[in-house]
Subunit: 794 residues, 2 copies
């Protein structure tokens, strides 16, 4: 027994009895959802035809989750708390569904599943039923901002929800299976980034129910002292609630929860009244209860309660096996539904009275429908940050440096609803101007030498931790509760969060397309930077532009990809993304100095169209072009322009049309993506029969994936990253992957019929130039001056 | 001061002095690599022209790493230990390169960088130089099996290397930046899966050098007690070596390392001699040393040593700034190179004598060139596990169930060189037969109720932890040290390891294409199962077949994708993959019972070809087909066959050719992938002008990405997963994504010119059938019997 455990028995007999009844009502509903297609209140004897034809669902973690929810209700009511609940364990939806149904919220949203016998019957039937209710806390679940279909993100989501919500208490139930994942294991450290004065509280409840699908869990099978050390090491003060006797457990849990809330309030008071923002030791709870608690103890000689057998459906065949049917009936009747629900099928009044009312209900808390609380950002005029371009392609600027200045002022104007996230790379990614608006959040120790350049503070709003998982989780939690943000990360390592992106896009799609009651939330903005073409010293491991392939697999309703070619375009795109709702916006923009092309007005026009001809770079004015040179991305655009420059010198009468793509989905047909171009518009840009040389930021095949249905597709020749690299100068890397000016010019000569033969000598010279430049790089360690100083002179 | 710290001073004065000199030689070389393009031994005064034109590289963690390497050499020699070293911190290559150069190993492999002044100069110049030596421990680095370009995997790689290598001690240096990542944070728990009797030891060295690129690290900024609690909670016994005075630190480190090796040996003795396989508390070391230790203390009024400024190049501009040049020269001369290297430029003899010899050198240990130790698996005859098929498409079998039986016997025959990995899903994925050969590895607590079904044992060889990251890391470490394995995981969640896959593929490509001294290692086999089409109760979050898009972006030299349509094909593919070297093999095969098509002989023929016409399902024999029906994947193949069946009933004279694809890269042109089909072969299968209806397992666009250059591409119409799903029956999910038999038949009617008009009535009936089946599913919760009992009768 842990000596810090409170020894009180705070619950009066009546209160305890009713809380236990409420809990049993939850458990009854959870079990009912898994088994029953009819006879929901067991008003007649259970018969095979009442049982669903296919039994799907997960019982194991439900009673533990309901137990916590019932106890949260008590403290919410008693203290008028503002609490949301995140359900971490996989497939724990029956518990949250049951609870939201008993709070009345579920029926408010889904009136066909009302608080009647019929409504309950419909809830039961639809659960885990084709086209019906999911077995995770899907977007359809009232009160949920965390589906938990993929494990590992509950705690980072919880912290994201708590940032800048000083009044909120985010209870995060963490499954002990989930706790084994990497993302969860490091997200405990989020407490070094939570400011008790300004942010809300997170109350983690680690649920040790002992088993995953088929195995025990690690944290349930290490000695008590080891677990306590681990959680203490993570910076928490763990309280243990352990056992299986409901009465004792209720008293323990109530006392523990009182203690935790008291501690949270004391921490917040010290920070808010006394100005003490030293990192506190936040409380957390370890709830050790049997898997499938209150379910069948054993069946067929096997233990069920407290073992992995209780994970999903504890008794498999009640429709075909009389003994099983009898056991399921006994189990369901053990909750005494006739005493929990009235004649009409509604929870009896004295139990209804246990739930909070209105928006204090966990299932109705507006923070879990963040769009409802969301305010638009107060945005400065982005055109004021414009780079003076003058003649196109004559000056070099770091696009993200310029963006940083805009973001700095976005932050200044929105100091409680906007944050920037990055894995220790905000400075490396040249977004340093942001630090003028806010320091980096840091509640761990600060030492003297940090101050000159470190800019760490408990009050900071720039979030930096070397865990892409945690940052993405924070940002998801932050936007799902209605606030705004941007996550900047190295391009190659955005793959670390591929799966989180997938899950978030799926959430947005469901919420947006199917749930009118969910208000639109701010888009999740991903700035992909430190791009493949400028890994001068990081080498091959840092070269992977393939995240875009992952993104293009998701629903066109919710994903957007932008490749602004220069700083002004980046500003225009960023402004657009920060105003948008319900998307994942992927912005690809580098941090190194790059050539600038468009003045602000042209940039706005270009980005609004998303794709367009650059007349100033084209030589086909008033003519059919001989060839279309197209580009998407910064370095590819520079190389394509340089190729045009070379070709102009070689073949002054060659008609070249230059097309640049900012909005990648413009390439798709309009039938497949809302941003897609019509066939006519596409053809008017790319012609129906001329060669198109397309210089692309990412893998070439992606352009084909998007354009394969276009009339002129057979003539589209894409140059892109070909998975070749090492420590390389920018030009060298371009050359070995064939996106360099020389290779492009050669390709044009090869593809334009009237240059065949005529261009042979030129091709040879271009090939020689490639070799010369490689030789120079390998001798001097840098690109030759000629290339580095290249300016557009057209 | 920690009271468990050994108080001894084990080093004699001479030994200490020489170890320190060896260490200074390492540090000299590390710094030289970053700065010098000439004058490597500083035999003349340092001038601007000796400095590289671009300074790239990372100094910060090098001295700490070299410090550990020098001390490892001492214990290796003293006790004749078998030790490898994994460098976790990003960009720490100068330390390992320096050490391998001083051990002579580097020059053995790269004779142009010999142990002479000239060779040293060349090493310096090539480091972080275009086309030269990478700044991580790339495959080119002798002794490396862990590049560390992406952070987070050092410890799981280390455990993977230690499994089944009882004699080996794997020292893993973990950066405190890296330690913030999720994958690293949970991989500490790998100690619950290491059997001291059978496996080697892992000695983690957590290097607290305090800073990442631009921020302090979390673990360096929590109180000592908190850190100690955390590491104790992870199950280790931490030893602390902290300070900055070299002499004291050498004594401390030597004493600590002695202690750790003694403890490791004692643990192994208890397990091996006394049979005590209780989970021990393995020792580990926390090394707290200044970032950029021994480098410049400060410059321009800023502290450097011990701050983030020492992370990369501590003094930026020696070529252009005389003060900087002077400081760099003083710093380099502080190591006294003239006393470390002889006239020829070779390390002086008394220091060379400190290194182990031959394969005991860390840089030459054969375990870090695992192909050299690798033995082929002793494989049973896979045809003996064949499923009796009889008439095609009349019986149902779970493919992974059959595979499990084969794998069971693979395991039985290779009990020290083959393991199967899976995140708590080996049973769920129907590979349960494996447990007949071996239990699950588990060194945490085992309780009575585990035994009936749990099958946990310290001696188990089935690796299950709910962390895809850790499992993938273990398997990578296991195969890179020459052993064999297979990782089975849910299809949707294989995206969790997208980035690890990318990095491993890049490693294999470099090793295979450019490094003859690296022997081929066993392929990394990924079994992707619990597929998108059978997420009957998991819903939308569990539906993502897009990993294949990620895989197709990697070099054709190292990736393979197989979609065996049935159990016999799966056996044939698995046998092939287990024999292969240097690939990542991705096998897509479901766990649910599926129709079987090919007897073993036909399966072998089909899989060997990788793609082929199924005559028994075609109706075009001796004719030009009207339409080609193609499929890849199990459910898509079943639905395509059912569509053919429907069409045969409707249009008895329709000529349909049925093509099935197992080896996905067959679709690519042979110029782009070694498995690609020639244009002629492709056209002979798919015709040059007939409609092709392709029913695909994954997103439809992937087939277009692979086939866009084919003659008949404009006529290829792909059906695939369209990102639509919920809780669905298999047929319902097929219908809403359009890969069902009815949609396919309708598409054929639309595409075959002579069916236009004629087929209108049939189309209407097919549409009605879709609706009827959806209605049935939504009423009954299951697919209608008619569909579930569908058999191929052709």
């Amino acid at each position: 027994m842990d000596d810090t455990r409170p020894q009180l028995t705070p619950l009066q007999a009546d209160e305890l009895r009713n809380m236990d009844r409420f809990w049993r009502a939850c458990n009854y509903l959870s079990a009912g959802m898994i088994y029953l297609r009819a006879n929901p209140l067991l008003r007649e004897q259970l018969k095979p035809e009442h049982i669903k034809r296919r039994l799907l669902g997960h019982w194991g973690s439900d009673p533990g989750q309901s137990f916590v929810l019932v106890h949260l209700n008590r403290v919410i009511k008693q203290r008028d708390l503002n609490v949301i609940f995140l359900s971490g364990p996989g497939h724990g939806a029956p518990a949250t569904l049951a609870h939201s149904y008993l709070e009345g919220r579920y029926s408010e949203i889904y009136p066909d599943r009302g608080e009647t016998e019929e409504g309950m019957g419909r809830l039961f039937k639809l659960f885990s039923f084709p086209g019906g209710i999911g077995s995770h806390c899907t977007p359809e679940t009232p009160g949920s901002i965390h589906e938990g279909g993929e494990l590992g993100y509950s705690l980072s989501h919880g912290y994201g929800a708590a940032f800048d919500n000083p009044d909120l208490i985010v209870t995060v139930m963490i499954g002990d299976g989930e706790a084994e994942t990497g993302p969860l294991a490091t997200s405990w450290h989020s407490n070094k980034f939570l400011n008790p004065a300004r942010d809300g509280a997170v109350l983690p409840v680690l649920h040790l129910n002992g088993y995953k699908i088929a195995n025990p869990t690690i944290l349930a099978r290490i000695p008590h002292e080891e677990l306590e050390a681990l959680l203490t090491g993570y910076g928490y003060k763990p309280w243990f609630v352990e056992g299986d006797e409901p009465e004792k457990m209720h008293q323990q849990m109530a006392a523990t929860l009182d203690e935790c809330i008291d501690e949270i309030r004391a921490i917040q008071q010290r920070a808010r009244q006394e100005g003490n923002t030293q990192r506190p030791r936040w409380p957390m709870i370890v709830l050790r209860s049997p898997k499938g608690w209150t379910g069948p103890r054993e069946f067929g000689g096997h233990k069920i309660e407290g073992t992995w057998r209780a994970h999903q459906v504890p008794v498999a065949d009640p429709a075909s096996n009389g003994k099983s049917l009898k056991l399921v009936e006994e189990w369901l009747r053990s909750y005494e539904p006739e005493k929990l629900f009235d004649e009409a099928g509604r929870l009896v009044a004295e139990l209804r009275a246990l739930a909070p009312v209105g928006p204090r209900r966990i299932s109705a808390n507006p923070h879990a429908n963040g769009g409802a609380l969301c305010k638009a950002l107060d945005l400065p005029d982005f055109t004021e940050y414009a780079v003076d371009v003058g003649k196109p392609a004559t000056s070099y600027v770091s696009p993200t440096d310029v963006l940083g200045q805009f973001l700095r002022d976005v932050m200044r104007r929105n100091m409680t609803s906007f944050r920037v996230f990055g894995p220790d790379e905000t400075a490396s990614n040249k977004l340093t101007a942001i630090y003028e608006a806010s320091q980096k959040t840091w509640l761990a120790q600060i030492v003297e030498s940090d101050s000159d350049g470190g800019d760490l503070s408990a009050d900071g709003r720039v979030m930096e931790m070397l865990s892409e998982h945690t940052l993405e989780g924070w940002l998801e939690g932050y936007t799902l509760t209605g606030r705004h943000g941007l996550f900047a990360t190295y391009e190659a390592f955005v793959h670390v969060i591929d799966s989180m992106f997938n899950q978030h896009a799926k959430w947005l799609e469901k919420a947006k397309r199917e749930l009118r009651w969910r208000q639109p939330v701010p888009s999740l903005n991903l700035l992909i930077t430190s791009l493949v073409w400028r890994q001068d010293h990081n080498g091959f491991t840092h070269q992977d532009p393939g995240f875009l392939d992952v993104v293009t697999n998701k629903s066109p309703d919710v994903v957007r990809i932008y490749l602004p070619p220069d700083a002004n375009c980046l500003l225009s795109v960023a402004d657009h993304c920060l105003r948008s709702r319900d998307y994942v916006n992927v912005i690809v923009a580098d941090k190194q100095p790059h050539l600038q092309y468009l003045d602000m007005k042209s940039a706005i026009t270009h980005c609004t169209k998303g794709i367009g001809i650059w007349d100033w770079a084209s030589t086909d004015l008033d003519h059919e072009p001989d060839v279309v040179m197209a580009s998407a991305g910064d370095i590819p655009t520079m190389e394509a322009l340089a190729a045009v420059e070379i070709l102009k010198g070689l073949f002054p009468d060659l008609k070249i049309r230059f097309v640049n793509v900012v909005d990648l989905f413009r390439l798709m047909p309009d039938s497949d993506h809302p941003h897609g171009l019509s066939g006519r518009d596409f053809d008017s840009l790319f012609t129906t029969d001329k060669p198109v040389i397309f210089n692309f930021h990412s893998y070439a095949s992606l352009v084909h994936k998007l354009t394969y249905r276009r009339t002129n597709h057979a003539n589209i020749h894409v140059h892109g990253y070909a998975e070749k690299g090492n420590i390389n100068t920018p030009l060298e890397l371009a050359i070995i992957n064939g996106i360099d000016r020389f290779s492009l010019a050669i390709d044009v000569i090869d593809r334009v019929p009237r240059l065949r033969g005529v261009g042979d000598h030129a091709k040879e010279r271009l090939r020689d130039q490639k070799i010369q430049h490689l030789d120079y790089a390998h001798t001097e360690g840098i690109d030759s001056e000629e290339i580095r100083e290249w300016k557009w002179v057209g």
